[in-house]
Symmetry: C2
Subunit: 375 residues, 2 copies
């Protein structure tokens, strides 16, 4: 992976360059530029390559002089919409800002890319342009989940790159998720659990028992501690750092958790806006409520990371506002600085060398064949 | 199903008799008796047959004279523990309170059974003693989920009877879940959604597309409105009343939702116990906070119902306290009064008659063969 030595602004060294797709999010380019503005203030070594419609972006950038020195604008005429099919975008999306944002990583001028566009299309373009790391069968999308662990977050994958996962895929998810937790959350030796419907050995679907044995055998080589089967209630808990599952189950769990947290906080808001005493109490408890909201704010955990590709891509939520986009850029920056892709590649090579029985395949052999089934 | 015309107490008519397993819950028989005591005060037509160790139960009942007239005590020497394997209990569990509680339904002396014991064993004994309804392939466990709908709850199934489900099983879940929502939540024509990772037709696992088409074709005969694919975020929403999925996905979603709701409310509690002002505000907002807690109290939704058997069985949470057990008894009472089993049997017969291509099988053919894989 590029270490970010290339920069759009001359005369600076050891800069981290992140490529950002300005288009395709629900809140439009203004939210993206506001998020960039936040990020640049917080991260002095950050530079941005911004891809999108110049006639829209130039005025947004123009109003903030501080941005001009740190953001290189690149014009793209096309935009990938939420309705576009991944296969269409792979064939005809060359002029889009999403394509150009990924190309900046491929060409080594950016260390990572961020987009809040269509997830399926972003995964398809990323696989086509960046290609899979050697030995990887199915790339995965990893998310951060608010948890009871000291760092405040757990990692879960796959949350939607592919609806299926074989035992050997689940081992690769464990290795990649552990590398992500090590670099993204500073956990030296992450604890990995395999999601199931019970913790006893005989429980669950065909294939999970085999996967559990493979993970136990490869944990040391893979750079993680294997804790065995875990249940849905452990996802926000403190017994594991990384939750491994197939993309169908992971996607359902992620959306169920988000929906449930939203229901609970909405009910809380209703409780505090009914009646004069409650409203006064809410005013008094404003600081506590704000601290509470901050701790469970889903925007802080914004950013699904695509793992298993030759380059880092962060998918920001489609409805991200400036806070969410700044979180996604901050995550991309951190993963670039810590060399996530290199770490994953090295761990996967160790697993291969340890004689793991995997379907290796030529690097990136499936890219461009329409095998992408991002959800 | 028995309409509850038999009663343990002579001289009363039109009574509803519920059979309760007093043993096997984490909080012991005292919590069960306290829950019964609550239920009997609220439901004047309710009588109880209580199964368990007489030497333990007699003193608990003795301290409440009001109970003596409405509770018939039946001694069982054995107890099913949380560690017992379902297959063991099926072979050697004849002397247990769980077995006896199910037998009361089988023999027609109770209209429904309630237990907070081992789920796998309870499903195994229920299948063995009650047998499956004609045409049913896999019985299911249905749960209530706090939601934005006017009634405050949605129904989800299967949440753990079987890790697998074919398209024809998912149709049976839709029919059974709709009958449960009609009788348990008074929704005349429930809206049924099929859980997936996206709402577009091409999304998801093999089999889900076929299931979606079968549900659409059979909705009228099955007594429900089919809304197509839904996502995890819709489970606590207002767009459906019944969520249909396989027992693996449903179990993970249920436990993820419970764990997430618990994390959010714990964080809220922390926010209100840090600092003097926050504590004072919490005191002031006590009523609002209590209303909030009540609305999201998981004990109110206590009771996984086994569907697809010749009789109603309600599985109360293993850790249920008196409030939770009273909720489970209240649910069993309501389902008995409204004739849930008869309604399900009638709907399934209509589906069969409509020429649905299902693997019918002889009624109950698999019971007792160890095919139970409750999670």
């Amino acid at each position: 992976m590029s270490s970010g030595s290339n920069t759009p602004v001359a005369g600076k060294t050891a800069r981290i360059v992140i490529s950002v797709d300005a288009m395709g999010g629900d809140k439009g380019p203004a939210a993206v530029v506001a998020g960039i503005s936040d990020s640049i203030r917080r991260l002095p070594d950050l530079d941005i390559i911004l891809h999108g419609d110049e006639s829209v972006l130039r005025p947004l950038l123009g109003s903030e002089p501080a941005l001009a020195a740190r953001v290189a604008l690149r014009h793209s005429a096309g935009v990938v919409t939420m309705e576009d099919k991944p296969a269409q975008v792979m064939r005809h999306g060359q002029d889009t800002s999403m394509w150009a944002a990924i190309n900046s990583v491929r060409d080594g001028e950016a260390a990572a890319a961020v987009s809040c566009g269509n997830t399926g299309a972003l995964m398809a373009v990323s696989m086509l342009r960046l290609r899979k790391l050697p030995g990887i069968n199915r790339p995965a999308i990893a998310c951060l989940w608010p948890s009871r662990n000291p760092g405040g977050f757990n990692v879960m994958l796959d949350v939607g790159a592919d609806v299926k996962a074989d035992p050997s895929d689940l081992l690769q998810y464990a290795v990649m998720g552990a590398a992500y937790a090590a670099n993204g959350l500073s956990i030296p030796r992450p604890r990995v659990g395999l999601l199931n419907v019970g913790t006893e050995d005989h429980k669950g679907r065909a294939g999970l028992k085999e996967a559990n044995e493979i993970l136990a055998a490869q944990a040391t080589t893979g750079g993680f501690t294997h804790v065995g089967f875990i249940e849905g209630g452990d996802i926000p808990g403190s017994s594991v750092d990384v939750i491994v599952t197939d993309g169908f189950t992971g996607n359902v769990a992620l959306k169920t958790g988000e929906g449930t947290a939203k229901l609970v906080t909405d009910r809380l808001r209703e409780a505090f806006t009914t009646g004069v005493v409650a409203k006064f109490a809410a005013l008094l408890a404003m600081r506590s409520l704000k601290r509470f909201q901050h701790r469970i704010d889903p925007r802080r955990a914004n950013g699904g990371v695509f793992l298993g590709l030759k380059g880092t891509v962060v998918k920001s939520h489609g409805g991200s506002d400036a806070t969410g986009i700044a979180a996604a850029i901050g995550l991309a920056h951190r993963l670039a600085v810590t060399g996530l892709t290199d770490r994953i590649a090295a761990r996967l090579a160790s697993i291969e060398a340890a004689g793991q029985d995997s379907r290796s395949g030529a690097p990136g052999e499936d890219a461009g064949t329409g095998s992408v089934s991002s959800v």
